[in-house]
Symmetry: C2
Subunit: 356 residues, 2 copies
């Protein structure tokens, strides 16, 4: 049977001060009232019934996720005691799903992207499932057609064409130089690595066994106890010991048969404040705002996020990120937004957990 | 008898978003917990008993002022129905005081300055009263020794020396050019016009009668009814019709006998956010803060004001004014801080009174 796994781990520290340990970015509602997790669920639910949809997240966030997506049965919510990156999260979901349904075919979806239009997304997902059902040994990645030479994304270099919109993967490239990214864009042979995948549970588990045997053994041990009394004990004792590694490094770059299905969509990784610019309407001066009460006087290129009742007013400032939350406000230049992690570490040291 | 009149009118719109129509700058407590009005009262109360201290403010702010300075008898609080600038506020206080005490000698003090040290302030005030008692026809202004070529203050050019620290006034100069201000500074013959004065009630009323006869007549009419049932009716019907004009324009620049007493103090007009820089301790990077929870990462020359429980965090921003209030936040460049009045007008139009 087909299943959807939504990856909703990660803290999203680069979206501080809105994101907090207790309130991760997936459940924030700063974009049109719907959280990114909700948007992801709504997309996926056009193709899957709630019983086929599974969400993996941090254990501490299970109540939040359950509240945000009440449609999904709680037995389909998987909690990681700690984050151990995508190889282990995906592996855990696959191992548990394989326990439940040995013939499971899994689509893996992210919960921190803005994707549109919906119909193209659905077409690509349907095609990916079709490809997997036709090539049971394949790992399929969804590749987004690039629209600019972005140097912050990973790229997938496509090879031989299987059929319309589906290709062998020639190579994975980590964040390239601007020159390379420009070449990739004009060649038409490269996609952005979307972090969304499709495969049979047995296939991804076989590949994990081959390329990440320690994790594979541990995850199978946890999964074997999933529906018994030992689940939590095994999770707590085994999972934290796993090595942090991404599915791309651990498996995709080394696997036997990797294919890419083209996703011709607007696709924005809302992992940092500057990314908001792509998904929000700008005023005549290049300012964007994820809130209604903003006023600029001679200011240009600013990104403003606030609660709905709080007014943000600027005069003569350019290219700033301004984010207001109930107990903390961030003001930084757009180019310094990558420093937020360091900032939050400093804040935790100086002022304690209250603000982080 | 000697009296002190503290001028606590004015809205302080340039200190938005902390100052509001309902909460003028004089009662804000962003500097060390004491409002500027309280600081002014504490200074003056080292020389005057509470019964000798009078406060003139907007009628709407009388309850706030009374709460802030409970020591002063409510009969010493004078409310203006509307602001009509310093000539009329000073004239009203003088006319009422003259009703109460025909021999009144009045020191006029501001409520929006930071002044230190206290002993030099007291010395200058004592000297000013001494000069007035010796020269009953004189209007005395307190002149602050300039410490930099400031172009935002008015200057007093001193003439012949009466005795140590007291001079005839040669001339008043409105905000000068930088070149002139530099010349004034090096000559040693110029003072900043502090807005603080000393004179006999009869003398200032005579001079008002001569140079601003309409106001004089109106104010005498109000004062004559001050201790009867007609006070409010006369205030409401007469005061709003008075012409807005400062005591400097109306009287000081044209009066018969004007003297200046030197005030050798730190004296900061906290009328705008950039002025805070002079009265707050800066960190190693030139940032100052009127709050405790501030963190800067690679930011320089910023002025930050916030409530105590709200954290302000910046990365890589320079020379900004950042002011957080419960329902609005201002971010502007230091050089654009004079645009706050226009900003607040825009906010009132777009979002209504709630934020102003």
């Amino acid at each position: 049977m087909r299943h959807a796994v939504i990856m909703a781990g990660g803290a999203g520290v680069r979206l501080w001060p809105l994101s907090r340990r207790s309130r991760p970015k997936q459940v924030l509602r700063f974009l049109g009232g719907q959280s990114l997790l909700r948007q992801s669920y709504e997309r996926v639910s056009t193709l899957f019934k709630p019983e086929q949809i599974h969400i993996i997240t941090n254990q501490a966030h299970l109540p939040l996720v359950s509240q945000e997506i009440p449609e999904v049965p709680t037995s389909n919510l998987y909690g990681e005691p700690v984050g151990r990156d995508t190889a282990n999260a995906i592996g855990l979901a696959a191992a548990v799903l394989h326990e439940r349904d040995p013939d499971a075919v899994i689509g893996v979806f992210t919960a921190d992207h803005v994707i549109s239009p919906l119909d193209r997304f659905c077409d690509a997902v349907q095609k990916a499932f079709g490809v997997v059902e036709q090539h049971p040994d394949a790992l399929v990645t969804l590749g987004v057609r690039p629209t600019r030479p972005d140097t912050s994304y990973g790229y997938v270099h496509r090879g031989a064409r299987l059929h319309e919109g589906a290709y062998e993967v020639e190579d994975f490239i980590e964040k390239p130089s601007f020159a390379s990214a420009t070449k990739y864009l004009s060649s038409g042979e490269y996609y952005w690595n979307s972090g969304m995948f499709c495969w049979r549970a047995t296939t991804i588990l076989d590949q994990l066994k081959k390329h990440l045997p320690q994790s594979h053994g541990a995850l199978m041990e946890i999964a074997a106890a999933w529906f018994g009394d030992e689940r939590d004990a095994r999770l707590q004792s085994i999972y934290p010991k796993l090595m942090r590694i991404s599915i791309d490094f651990a498996v995709m770059e080394r696997a036997d048969r990797v294919l890419v299905v083209e996703l011709n969509c607007q696709w924005v990784d809302v992992g940092s404040w500057p990314a908001l610019e792509s998904v929000l309407q700008s005023d005549g001066d290049g300012n964007v705002a994820a809130c209604s009460q903003v006023i600029h006087l001679g200011s240009r290129g600013n990104i403003v996020v606030s609660e709905d009742k709080h007014l943000i007013a600027t005069i003569g400032v350019d290219d700033l990120v301004i984010v207001h939350s109930p107990n903390a406000t961030l003001i930084c230049t757009r180019r310094d937004a990558q420093g937020i992690k360091e900032l939050v570490d400093n804040i935790r040291q100086r002022f304690g957990e209250e603000f982080t």
